[in-house]
Amino acid sequence: MTKPILISILVSVVLIGGAFWLATQSSGGAASGTATIVDGIQYVDISAKGGYSPRVVTAKAGVPTVLRMKTSGTFDCSASLVIPKLSYQKFLQPSGTEEISIPGEKAQGTMQGLCSMGMYNFQIQFL
């Protein structure tokens, strides 16, 4: 094997290693959170800006739930919210709070939310 190929393989391995290291790093903000229940209604609070925070929220299954999406100066993809299970798609206002109600019967399993391009996501785990 020639020298450039060896160097190339070495550099590639280092870069791939770096990519994995990056991928396992959690970005800023709380990684997980829990829902709060007030007067029989469950509230899940998620802030959207350059991604969603917290990324994973645990909640009680079968309880009528309100998902509150908070934006503040959000102009990136995370404002373009999609929740496939609810067939929900909306462009959130740059700043404000959007309330999305999830009926009790839909509050089951894992609910995935993502931005319309797909690279930001969060999930609500109904246990």
């Binding site: 590639s12 870069l15 990519a19 990136d76 462009f91």
Partner: protein, 340 residues
């Protein structure tokens, strides 16, 4: 005394190359005729060579063609897929992809504060958008189209027209949504379909840029010879419309920043404000996109263009897969694989 020799040409990969080699060779004073063939990668040269050996002639004519990336030889050189270029292309491409991922982690979006939009923030958002997730889709498309165009012998005019189309399109369409107060908001299904189509186009162009697989020749979106003739010789009538239309089309590409700008533009309720907001935003994305397109054009004539095209090919394919998986995740078909 007139003599005819047949030489093998390496570096010919497109219909435009036929015209390029022929016209360059015909410009040599002692050459009276030249006929290139893409299928055999050879050129038939007729001229008064004054009793020179064929090797000498090949060497002399190569000097003429080398600046354009072609070499002539008497012996047939086995088609070199340029596997050696991958030794450089793979690490460079990986470094770019890693840099892109790191950039996303860096949280550029937090640089934008406040909830109101003025022209300054629109420009800033454009700048950020051009190095953010939008780069995966808009930048990836620009890179794949411009590198392919450069490889096919496209000129600076093609690239400029794309940018003119993009800027003008953003101005006019931004004005229209400002005026009518409703966006061309595309539904989730359309969004997913568009994402998949863009990913597919990028994938095909990316594989073509690698220039190694023969089976993709079938997929190759080469320009027919008559079209190439116009591009190479600079006809005034052809290939004005296509790049302009593609430029305008980028208005509809699923990019979060573009969409939130459109959302803002439609609340302005005035043509000028909507138009200016979108125009300034597009202007913000211009530096990076211009670098991608004019950079590829410039590099396409450098000796290390093989490395560049392969690097671009790998990056474009990676971005195509990234876009495809994201589109499928958005459709709820698969779970999101990437989380930035």
């Amino acid at each position: 005394m007139m003599k005819t020799y047949t030489f093998h040409v390496s570096g010919m990969h497109c219909n435009a190359c036929i015209l390029m080699t022929e016209s360059e060779l015909k410009d040599v004073p002692y050459v009276t005729n030249a006929k290139s063939s893409l299928s055999t990668n050879s050129v038939e040269v007729t001229g008064a060579f004054g009793g020179k050996a064929p090797e000498m002639i090949a060497e002399e004519l190569t000097k003429v063609l080398r600046p354009h990336g072609y070499t002539l030889s008497v012996e047939r050189i086995e088609k070199n897929a340029g596997w050696g270029d991958f030794a450089y292309a793979i690490p460079i491409a990986l470094a770019f992809i890693l840099g892109f991922a790191a950039l996303q982690k860096a949280g550029l979006t937090s640089l934008v504060t406040g909830s109101s939009v003025n022209y300054g923030t629109a420009f800033g958002l454009g700048l950020i958008a051009s190095v953010s997730s939008c780069l995966a889709i808009v930048g990836g498309l620009v890179l794949s189209l411009s590198a392919s165009s450069a490889k096919e012998g496209g000129t600076w005019r093609t690239q400029s027209l794309f940018h003119v189309g993009r800027l003008a399109g953003f101005f006019v369409l931004g004005g229209v949504i400002g005026l009518i107060g409703s966006s061309f908001h595309i539904g989730i299904t359309a969004n997913v379909v568009l994402g998949i189509i863009v990913a597919a186009v990028m994938f095909i162009l990316g594989v073509n840029l690698l220039d190694v697989f023969h089976f993709t020749k079938r997929l190759q979106l080469t320009m027919p010879a008559w079209a190439s003739r116009h591009v190479v010789r600079g006809s005034k009538h052809d290939h004005y419309l296509a790049p302009v239309l593609v430029g305008i089309g980028t208005f509809f590409l699923p990019c979060g920043f573009t969409q939130s700008m459109q959302l803002y533009a439609l609340t302005t309720g005035s043509f000028m404000q909507g138009a200016m907001t979108m125009f300034v935003f597009a202007l913000g994305t211009f530096p990076v996109l211009a670098l991608l397109s004019f950079g590829s054009l410039n590099i396409a004539h450098k000796p290390w263009k093989g490395i560049f095209f392969k690097t671009a090919g790998i990056i474009v394919i990676a971005l195509a897969l990234f876009n495809l998986l994201n589109a499928l995740a958005t459709a709820g078909i698969i779970n999101p694989l990437f989380s930035i």
